[in-house]
């Protein structure tokens, strides 16, 4: 024991002298610590959930409509990625307990790669939202409302999406309008047959932009909620990547920490748990 102290400078918990357990509870102190941390994390996320409940109950129409602009497919894939990473993490904890080093390294690396995949897909989603604009444009004395993705083409500003001519009796708010609103107005004003759907086209933005907003957190309350909740969850995923990589590197150096692996596993499953609730709340309902 003393050699270990001299060699490493600290005693890993699994080699430390037995702590005095009270009331015969065999739970190790490290596990109590991680669960206390997770308890505070539960409260943290329930706070965000609380604001979601209140805002949604006040603006049910807004949440119903704006939620449809999110990409269900990408989020569904992300859900599967996180669930799979939870599986490999559970297997890693198991391997660490049994001292199976190759399996431990394999599982930790897969878990880490899943975290990277999750963040990359999330990045694509965010990027898509930041290039998605709703804009009110004055063109030759007419006002047009556009909704779609903005990009540069041969030095010209182009938008791929839908548009409607704004009549004098329309009240336009770029923070609430979207593709569905434009389609409704097009139906109402006879630009489009009642059973027809608006087709996405590429338009060149030639006039002056009177108002515009992209689908960032400033768009409306739904997107504030969306970016706050998924952003904080994303930070948790990135934070989890740090101990995952440390454990993988240590396993590569032939050091296995079964209890630390278990604690990191508990945190990782918690991150998965949060996403299990965020996915239906933001994308599906």
């Amino acid at each position: 024991m003393s050699e270990a102290i001299i060699e490493h400078g600290y005693v890993p918990e699994e080699h430390a002298p037995d702590p005095v357990f009270s009331h015969g509870d065999p739970t190790p102190p490290g596990k109590v610590g991680i669960w206390l941390f997770l308890a505070s994390e539960i409260m943290f996320f329930v706070g965000i959930l609380g604001s979601y409940i209140v805002i949604r109950s006040g603006w049910p129409h807004l949440f119903e409509q704006q939620g449809r602009t999110l990409n269900k497919l990408l989020a569904g894939i992300n859900t599967l990625v996180l669930i799979f990473s939870s599986l490999t993490m559970a297997l890693a904890v198991d391997a660490a307990k049994k001292g199976e080093r190759p399996k431990l390294i394999k599982c930790l690396v897969i878990t880490f790669l899943c975290a990277v995949t999750f963040m990359v897909i999330k990045g694509f989603e965010y990027n898509d939202k930041f290039h998605h604009y709703t804009m009110l444009v004055n063109e030759n004395g007419e006002r047009w409302l556009y909704d779609g993705h903005v990009h540069e083409h041969e030095g010209k500003k182009e938008l791929t999406g839908v548009r409607v001519r704004v009549r004098d009796d329309m009240t336009v708010n770029v923070n609430f309008a979207g593709k569905e609103w434009i389609e409704d107005e097009a139906h109402k004003h006879g630009d489009l047959g009642t059973s027809e759907k608006l087709e996405e086209k590429t338009y060149e933005i030639k006039g002056t932009i009177a108002q515009q907003t992209n689908y960032g957190p400033w768009k409306n309350l739904f997107f504030s909620c969306y970016f706050a909740a998924t952003g904080i969850h994303g930070i948790h995923v990135m934070a989890g990547m740090i101990p995952l990589s440390i454990l993988a590197i240590q396993a590569g150096r032939k050091k296995i920490f079964p209890q630390h692996t278990e604690y990191v596993g508990l945190y990782w499953h918690f991150v998965d748990l949060v996403w299990i609730f965020l996915f239906p709340l933001m994308y599906l309902i």
């Binding site: 308890a39 609380g50 109950s57 006040g58 107005e185």
Partner: protein
């Protein structure tokens, strides 16, 4: 000559008072259940359910089942001692208290839904 039994039986190794949990959990089965429920919840979202409340309740029920599977089996809570349950009791009861405290804002909301709809029409023309 018959074998002489050792005078001192080898002592069990010291150092692990905490029982290593050797509960066999079939992680793959839990994973398959989670994947199936994820597919179900996505499919249900594409089915045209008229009632908004039914839709929300269904999605949240599926999410809760998934969450329980993760907590009980992946996080091993099913095999934990009383202390972990005690720790969990605190945030869970506080969460319930918080949601109850928010109820006035939520349950009175339908009364204001007319106002909300008016506001909706106002911004949408």
């Amino acid at each position: 000559m018959s074998e002489v039994p050792p005078i001192h039986a080898p002592e069990p190794a010291h150092g692990h008072t905490a029982p290593e949990s050797h509960h066999k959990v079939n992680y793959f089965a839990v994973f398959v259940i989670l994947v199936i429920l994820t597919v179900v919840t996505v499919v249900v979202a594409f089915v045209n359910i008229k009632s908004e409340t039914a839709k929300i309740l269904l999605a949240l029920t599926i999410a809760s089942v998934k969450a329980s599977a993760v907590v009980l089996y992946f996080m091993h809570v099913k095999f934990e001692g009383k202390l972990i349950y005690l720790i969990l009791l605190v945030p869970v009861s506080f969460s319930i208290m918080l949601v109850i405290a928010l109820l006035p804002d939520v349950t009175f909301a339908p009364i204001f839904h007319d106002v909300s709809a008016h506001a909706w029409r106002f911004v949408h023309g």
